[in-house]
């Protein structure tokens, strides 16, 4: 029996729905899951029917931030609709930063808008009563393959192991930094002089948050081919409860020392290693990758 999925939205940009639409294996998705409702896919029911009916989904997927009122979906408030189906569902998967922590849109009314379990970095969301059913998949947007992995695990009857923020450890046990092609530049403290180069690490000047942001962006690539940090865009920390931070495209430093260090790395250890690494100039890492000839 195909797992019955119901995808409902709060305040959202539809980006998670579109992100999910990029799964590599859509034929598999159509075969393995039955969508009661999804914002893009043609499905069994209309939103109006969902709002009037009783569909007992196996998994409720929530996209978007929540607010007590002012977010009508059909004839009902989104939160009423979502709460009703959260009760019925076996699992509630929060897809994306907004559903998990409230995301960017929470900034509009921080005291009124929140995620399922969290209001930004604090506990206290709108679906606290269903905590035990909730699986959080933060990210702006959610990575399609992270969501598909979670759904497939549930289809197999296995709940992925979760961390203390109820994120699957196999997806969020990595930092974004792990697997970035610029790791060697990080190791030897070779900073990217500017945007727009394959060479250099974006941690020192351009604001990359990869070393303290959880997520497997550089393990399970985006759109099957790339990641922001590989391409040259700093990680903006979109899976973390403190997203979005201020000044995303520059590194905050205190007397030239990055204000935030890689997760759990003590300051003295970091500074000592930095001093060591900086003492050496690795010729290969100071040249353009493909030699002086232009590519």
């Amino acid at each position: 029996m195909a797992l019955k999925l119901l995808w409902l939205q709060g305040l959202s940009c539809n980006g998670n729905a579109h992100s999910f639409f990029n799964v590599p294996d859509m034929a598999g998705v159509l075969r393995e899951f039955a969508f009661i409702y999804h914002p893009l896919l043609p499905c069994e029911a209309t939103l109006e029917e969902v709002s009037g009916g009783d569909f007992s989904p196996d998994v409720l997927i929530v996209e978007g931030a929540l607010r007590r009122d002012g977010v009508p979906r059909g004839d009902e408030e989104a939160l009423t609709l979502i709460t009703r189906y959260a009760k019925q569902a076996k699992w509630v998967v929060c897809a994306g930063q907004c559903a998990v922590f409230g995301g960017i849109f929470r900034l509009n009314e921080p005291d009124k808008i929140a995620g399922a379990l969290y209001a930004g970095q604090e506990r206290g969301g709108f679906l606290d009563a269903f905590e035990k059913k909730i699986i959080n998949l933060p990210g702006c947007p959610v990575h399609p393959e992270w969501l598909l992995f979670t759904l497939r695990m549930l289809a197999l009857g296995t709940v992925p192991r979760l961390d203390d923020l109820r994120r699957p450890v196999e997806l969020y046990g990595y930092t974004v930094h792990e697997g970035c092609l610029r790791n060697e530049y990080f190791e030897w403290k070779v900073d990217a002089k500017d945007f727009g180069a394959k060479e250099g690490c974006l941690f020192y000047e351009q604001g990359c948050r990869g070393p303290y942001t959880r997520g497997s962006c550089n393990k399970i690539l985006w759109n099957g081919v790339n990641s922001k940090t590989r391409a040259g865009m700093p990680c903006i920390g979109c899976t973390e409860p403190d997203f979005p931070a201020e000044r995303l495209f520059e590194t905050e430093t205190l007397m030239s020392i990055p204000a935030r260090l890689p997760l759990e790395v003590p300051k003295r250890a970091y500074l000592t290693l930095t001093g060591m690494a900086k003492a050496f100039r690795i010729p290969r890492l100071t040249r353009r990758k493909f030699g002086e000839e232009e590519p």
């Binding site: 914002p39 500017d194 391409a231 040259g232």
Partner: protein
């Protein structure tokens, strides 16, 4: 009065239809009930943060918002008298990734929005979804090759782009463009080149493919001529397939963004609406692929226009054709890029060194002209204003129905109204951001 929730339009919209004695639609109110407050959220933030924020206005055309932010910030430099050097490569890459987003949009719209409503139960769900998926994921991949991911990359910034592609990336991107092109040919029965060069509408009806199928169905439903509106077209920015300008019927003229003005949302009893109408010199204009084709004097669309004016058939064909034109041009753009060009040339000053600045960026997005207006104070955003294509096409004013509302007047039933409505390629999230 009939009330209908229109779904699968990047969120929902509510249609309120009033009918006359013959049962024809007399008045159509289009209501968009939520707002997320992006303009307010941007206030006081660092100017460059807008690069990460505005793409999150919309999950399907966020990349156009990124490009509008870049254009607006670059125009702030211009206002300060600081000239920026943007390499040809950076310009081309921006246009390329934007074109890819537009193509994924057009094909998703065709297969996920339009076919189901026009064909009714006669369409094959799985074929539709898989066609949309192949096109969308190929185009998304092409953006990701350059920008790291799609949706929601912020890889362009004042001064250029953040990536540094080599031949490897160029070929990966080309392969993605070709994959989307192959899907187009397989499903539409015409190669993208043939479609891009097509001038004779009769040939369209004779091909065997999804577009022809849809047109024949529209013909059977007597909807080919439905959905005519003001017959005024606006293109605020130069784009890959043509120039900026406006077209009153077929009469062309230049445009200036200074004449663009927003108004208060239409109030409709008992239901919230946040869609602000927008007019050019006090008049409503249609934006989007049809407007672009009219201003670019596209021969196929002009010929259709002679027969059907700004009806659904012209509108739909213009959009499908634009996907083909963009796919052709994208492959050319990729081949032309000089990979040795710099990707990014750092502006001589940071925005925060330049005091009080005003800027504006217009971009042609999938659904039409997108305008961002920004006011900076010492590098922080004092005011940010976003005017989206769907505001042009969908929003009515209290004193005057807008483009889509006018297009629905006189239609025979709600089904026709839904077809006409969806042919505009509605985006609920953009309309109200």
């Amino acid at each position: 009065m009939i009330q209908r929730l229109i779904e699968h339009v990047e969120g929902e919209a509510l249609l309120r239809l009033e009918k006359d004695a013959d049962g024809r639609i007399k008045r159509a109110d289009i209501l968009f009930p939520h707002i997320r407050g992006m303009e307010k959220i941007l206030q006081r933030r660092d100017a460059l943060d807008a690069l990460a924020f505005t793409p999150r206005v919309c999950g399907i055309c966020g990349h156009a918002h990124l490009m509008a932010t870049v254009a607006a910030l670059e125009s702030c430099y211009a206002q300060a008298g600081v000239s920026l050097e943007i390499s040809a490569k950076a310009r081309t890459l921006r246009r390329f990734t934007l074109a890819m987003e537009m193509v994924q949009n057009h094909l998703k719209w065709f297969y996920l929005t339009l076919l189901p409503v026009v064909m009714g139960p006669a369409y094959n769900r799985d074929v539709s979804v898989l066609s949309a998926h192949t096109a969308a994921s190929a185009c998304g991949r092409a953006v990701a090759v350059m920008g790291g991911q799609w949706p929601h990359t912020s890889y362009a910034l004042p001064g250029g782009v953040m990536c540094d592609p080599s031949h490897v990336e160029r070929l990966q991107a080309l392969a993605a463009v070709e994959e989307a092109g192959a899907l187009f040919q397989k499903r539409m029965g015409l190669s993208v080149d043939a479609m891009a060069e097509l001038e004779d509408p009769a040939l369209l009806w004779r091909t065997e493919g999804d577009l022809a199928l849809l047109l024949r169905r529209l013909e059977a439903l007597e909807l080919l001529e439905a959905g005519q509106s003001f017959d005024r077209f606006l293109v605020l920015a130069d784009h890959t397939a043509g120039p900026a300008g406006k077209s009153l019927k077929t009469r062309l003229a230049a445009v200036e963004t200074a004449y663009v003005e927003e108004d208060e949302p239409l109030q409709s009893a008992g239901y919230a609406n946040f869609a602000k109408p927008v007019r050019y010199r006090g008049r409503f204009y249609e934006v989007g692929p049809l407007a672009r084709a009219m201003v670019a004097k596209d021969p196929l669309v002009r010929r259709l226009h002679r027969r059907y004016r700004d009806a659904v058939s012209t509108r739909i064909i213009a959009r499908v054709k634009e996907a083909a034109v963009l796919l052709c041009r994208s492959a050319q753009m990729l081949r032309q890029i000089d990979l040795g060009d710099p990707s990014y040339i750092k502006p001589r000053y940071a925005l925060r060194e330049l005091g009080s600045l005003k800027g504006e960026g217009a971009v042609e997005a999938a659904r039409g002209s997108l305008l961002h207006r920004v006011h900076l104070r010492n590098g922080r955003i004092a005011r940010y204003c976003i005017i989206t294509p769907t505001q042009w096409n969908l929003a009515s004013a209290t004193d005057e129905p807008g483009v889509a509302a006018t297009a629905m007047v006189g239609l025979k039933d709600e089904k026709a109204a839904e077809v006409v409505f969806k042919a505009f390629d509605v985006c609920s999230v953009c309309t109200t951001q």
